[in-house]
């Protein structure tokens, strides 16, 4: 699979599995799970430094920025202003000008506010950010995001942390057909088959966090996801057979007694 690299805005990525860093028991488990996943892009949240507990270790002590592409996100931002502010802070902290842009529109579903997302993306693109937007499985919004300069689009499979898998496969297929930038299915994956399916449909990558971190054995699930994404990608490239209602024998009739 070495000749099958994912390229976004001139950056090459080996793995098509991207992972989040939240909800792990501790940094050791985070590190081991990410190692097992084979991911080279890891997403991180932007938050206040804890100044009262100085003994607290830093996540980046466990994730070497030379080894991983650190993808800051604007998780928790409900307004354009907040998302832009968090993105600027993330860039100022010096890891990169990449941002996984989230503008959340609803607390219960955590669905994106796509109008706010487009507005925030425009501002950040003008400032030179590489904006990877977390969006709905809406082909029209996906196209708008590409039109304003997003080099990839990250539609959800299902609500964040829901583990429901791909809820709207037909919309996802339309996005994959109509949008000519890499599509990273982000959020809602529950288990390995969900990830494999996204890749079989033709997604360029899958990003997940809870499906791994929330599994009974996160490190084993990280490995399962690695194989699922690889298998799904290979199957997509190999080209599946058409579905038929009736049987077609795979053994020849000739030579039978």
């Amino acid at each position: 699979m070495n000749d099958d690299r994912l390229v976004i805005a001139g950056r090459e990525f080996k793995s098509r599995l991207w992972v989040g860093t939240g909800k792990y028991k501790d940094f050791i488990e985070t590190q081991k799970a990410i190692e097992a996943s084979g991911a080279d892009v890891v997403t991180v949240a932007v938050r206040r430094v804890n100044i009262t507990d100085r003994s607290k270790e830093n996540l980046l002590d466990y994730l070497d920025p030379k080894k991983y592409t650190i993808l800051p996100n604007t998780a928790g931002c409900y307004t354009v202003e907040d998302a832009v502010r968090y993105a600027r802070l993330a860039r100022a902290a010096g890891v990169s000008d990449l941002v996984k842009l989230e503008v959340i529109g609803d607390e219960r579903t955590l669905f994106p506010d796509t109008a706010g997302l487009i507005e925030a993306a425009k501002i950040l693109i003008k400032e030179g950010f590489v904006v990877l937007p977390y969006t709905n499985d809406d082909p029209v919004v996906a196209k708008k995001l590409v039109d304003i300069g997003c080099p990839a689009v990250m539609p959800l499979a299902a609500p964040i942390g829901s583990g429901l898998g791909i809820r709207n496969p037909y919309n996802l297929k339309i996005i994959l057909e109509t949008v000519k930038v890499p599509i990273i299915v982000d959020a809602g994956v529950g288990t390995a088959s969900d990830a494999a399916l996204a890749m079989e449909y033709g997604a360029d990558a899958v990003l997940m966090n809870t499906a791994i971190a929330g599994a009974r054995d996160p490190i084993a699930m990280a490995e399962a996801m690695k194989y699922a994404v690889e298998a799904g990608r290979l199957a997509f490239k190999a080209g599946r057979i058409p579905r038929k209602l009736y049987a077609t024998a795979s053994s020849p009739i000739e030579g039978m007694l």
Partner: protein, 88 residues
């Protein structure tokens, strides 16, 4: 929100008189007048290369940390990266 937190910074007294009050990540603190962002981070044992600092909603470049002095009433945010995938 505490009104006065830990007194920080006994160095750089020569650059100013007395102390100033700051808001650091939402907490009230005092510091010596003439304190810079770099001094503040040093005092808090925070590595400057992994954080972003906002003073009164304006981001200060990491290269400016040594030069940027702090003033009475400044609201300072020090941020870094934590574990998170999407909205937690």
């Amino acid at each position: 929100m505490r009104e006065s937190g830990t007194a920080i910074g006994m160095v750089k007294q020569q650059e100013g008189q007395g102390t100033i009050r700051l808001q650091v990540n939402g907490e009230g603190r005092t510091a010596s007048a003439g304190f810079t962002i770099a001094d503040l981070l040093h005092e808090l044992e925070i590595r400057p290369d992994r954080v972003a600092v906002e003073v009164n909603l304006e981001i200060v470049d990491q290269q400016e940390f040594e030069r940027r002095g702090l003033c009475e009433g400044d609201r300072i945010e020090i941020i870094s990266f934590i574990g998170g995938g999407t909205e937690e």
